[in-house]
Amino acid sequence: MKIRLAFAAALLLAAGTALAADPKVSDDVVKIGVLTDMTGYYSDLSGAGSLEAARMAAEDFGGKVLGKPIVVIGADHQLKADVASTVARKWFDEEKVDAIVDLVSSSTALAVMPVAAEKKRITLLSGPGTTAITGDKCTPYNFHWTYNNWALANGTGREVVKQGGTTWYFLTADYVFGKSLEEDTANVVKAAGGKVLGASRHPSPGTTDFSSFLLQAQASGAKIIGLANAGADTINAIKQANEFGITKKQNLAGLLVFISDINSLGLPTAKGMYLTTAFYWDRDDASRKWSKRFFDKMKKMPTMVQAGVYSAVTHYLKAIQASGTDAPDAVAAKMRETPVNDFFATNGRIGPDGLHRHDMYLVQVKDPSESKYPWDYYKIAKVIPAAEAFPPVSDKCPLVKK
């Protein structure tokens, strides 16, 4: 009887301490859901690589935060906004997911953000580009981590105009992302003293032959053809621009080009092109070290989106550790006040609008003769400091106090 009593008392005591610790981490687990394109047009630049990056971040953190396990799950949003928001709801309501990561393609991000804000959960966006995310659609629980259209437009647009590419024609993917990228770049080009001569909007996905649009771009006589599209569209457009001899007189400017695209185009076709990126694996020792680990698992070097996923998840976990709870309000505040410095981001700061501002890089694709080893693709032409690389805090975002 005595032994039983002592046992019961011990049990009660244990339960008591567990109860006291409980409110720190909801449901005794920190669950991170990677919701992205696993099979479609953007699956090579995000997809399984993003999921792996999130898993690596959880492992490197020790698999636990505040003594509770970190669990990483993944799902395919098929690039559909409705699928994305349905999965997000299910994850929040039934599977106790604390944060959703990546959300490549702006339309899926814009669909999930309000759901997350309503349920008070964190979103860490790496893949999407539209500036609306931290503009009029901003939420207190959202972080836009890797790049946005403004940063790409600004990096590539301004630099190309400076080098004499003063007249532009756009090939634009006909949806939210493409149009916003075109608009942002056009503004930069005009502000830098250049002129926009026109644009062709092509259906996307679904266009494989770009020759008609390229011909219109050629007829415009513009010095620069700006590619306001991504993934397979960009690859086919660049390939066919070469085929039709357009690159002899006019130059291409890729506005959203990933290293996975350069890898599948090959240097002979892509050489000489300028582009803006948030991350290049071969930039310094830290980026090389992490990227080689990633390469061992995925057999591909990471894109900026995948590296960004790792960086964002790590920053999120650190904020939980530092604030001693996974309560979204506290964690979001902590994330905003802590600077980011890791292999991915230099001089990173998160604004009240949720935009992560860090250094960006204008790079030029190497000539095949300059490339010494596999994935040796870029020369860094210019480091764009964080303050210049990203837009100032938007007054369109209702969270920003005027």
Binding site: T39, G40, Y41, Y42, S43, D44, L45, G47, D174, S200, R201, H202, P203, P205, G206, T207, T208, D209, S211, S212, F213, L215, Q216, Q218, A219, G231, A232, I235, N236, K239, Q240, E243, F244, G245, I246, S260, D261, N263, S264, L265, G266, T269, K300
Partner: protein
Amino acid sequence: MIQALSGQLLLGLINGSFYALLSLGLAIIFGLLDVVNFAHGAQYMLGAFLAWMGLSYLGIGYWWALLLSPLVVGATGLVIERVFLRRLQGLDNLYGLLLTFGLALIIEGLFHHAFGNSGSPYPVPELLRGGFDLGFMYLPKYRAWVVVVSLAVSLGSWFVIEKTRLGAYLRAGTENPKLLQAFGVNVPVMFMLTYGFGVALAAFAGVMAAPIYQVTPMMGSSLIMVVFAVVVIGGMGSILGSIVTGIGVGLVEGLTKFIWPEAASVVVFLLMAIVLLVRPAGLFGRQK
């Protein structure tokens, strides 16, 4: 303006001859076997991928690929017909559609798993690099080659099926297989070879496409819908219909890209809807 327009029309002709080549295979398979071959896009992709694999793993160049790739993919077609499609004969052709659709998903899924989504580049063969300056546009040699070869293959196939003794057997086999069998023709083997030929045509188009588009697992699925629309507009199973309509659709699409680019992917289906309203059997189809 006229200059730009003639450029767009020429590009439309190029794409149209592609559509013709692809829809021809579909039309032959449907016309003679009554099978709606949804695996056509996957088989086109297989053709392109085999060419790419041959080049990267074995050093087999474009010209050999143009011959070998259709033969290999055609042979897989023979197996598919013998093992699966033959069992569906006489059933509603919905079964064939579902079967081939399933096969397409499996094939594309496997390639997606093995090669990822961005795909790989295939170089234009040495002999066909460069191009002609036509004044109103620059025509790459390779595109000109595509038009010539596609038209030659399409018209050749049409001639064989509509104008020769072999073609007469084939057509007779569709009308009344039992009677033809009674005349001593091995109808099942003939059907098997026909499916193989249709599939080989898809693979041939795939090799032709490899240097123009990125070779990716999904290259067929983005094209197959348009090609089906072409077959429906031309009249299901009409071989001449699919050739003429393929080119026509290419031209209409080219014009749309010029006048209203945003609508370029819709116009084909709009055309299909109109044709179905006015002539339910398609432009060249016969009412059954």
